[in-house]
Amino acid sequence: MTETNVLLIVSLTLVAVAGTVVVATGEPSRQAVVLSVFGLLLGLLFVVLQAPDVALSQIGVGTAVVPLMVVLAVRKIRQLGSRR
């Protein structure tokens, strides 16, 4: 029982900290990396909360697909910026 508590407190804290770091990272290409880590930590929290279905989704979407889109968008915007 206490073991679950420790796991819960640790994973919740990690998620809260990582979320804050994502928001505080102003530079979007670095933010994509932090976002990926945040997605992974959320996935771990969901495993602790006994939600494997949600964890699987979150890890697929939150650590791979969304950060990849962010990276691509940032790269495109950079390309546009470099010619001005």
Binding site: V15, V22, L49, V61, V70, I77
Partner: protein, 115 residues
């Protein structure tokens, strides 16, 4: 402890808002919107959690009478994740077009819509 999960959820929600308010880059804004949404996943799964209960999947060998956590909030969170990913995709696509039309993605420098 009993409040901690909910407080983390509320924190993420407001942190996302904070990011949107202070953002200097629309890509950053879009990502902060998704952080705000992750607060709702934590809230939902926190509400459905039960100590000592297993995942709501009855693998072979697990008796169907054993306690499981709430599957309904998990289904809601799944929908929520899809919504988050798709909204982020749309916002990023729009941000790319804004960069093309305005030559910037800094919200402080966008002046097309005033009054």
């Amino acid at each position: 402890m009993s409040l901690y999960a909910y407080l983390v959820a509320g924190w993420l929600l407001l942190a996302g808002f904070f990011g949107v308010v202070r953002s200097r880059d629309l890509v950053h804004t879009a990502v902060c919107v998704s952080v705000a949404q992750s607060g709702t996943y934590v809230l939902l799964l926190g509400i459905g959690f039960q100590r000592g209960a297993g995942a709501p999947v009855f693998a072979p060998g697990i008796p169907t009478t054993s306690p499981v956590v709430d599957p309904v909030v998990q289904a809601m969170a799944l929908t929520d994740i899809v919504v988050s990913a798709t909204v982020t995709a749309l916002l990023l696509a729009i941000a790319v077009q804004i960069a093309k039309r305005h030559g910037t993605v800094d919200p402080d420098e966008l002046h097309a819509l005033r009054g």
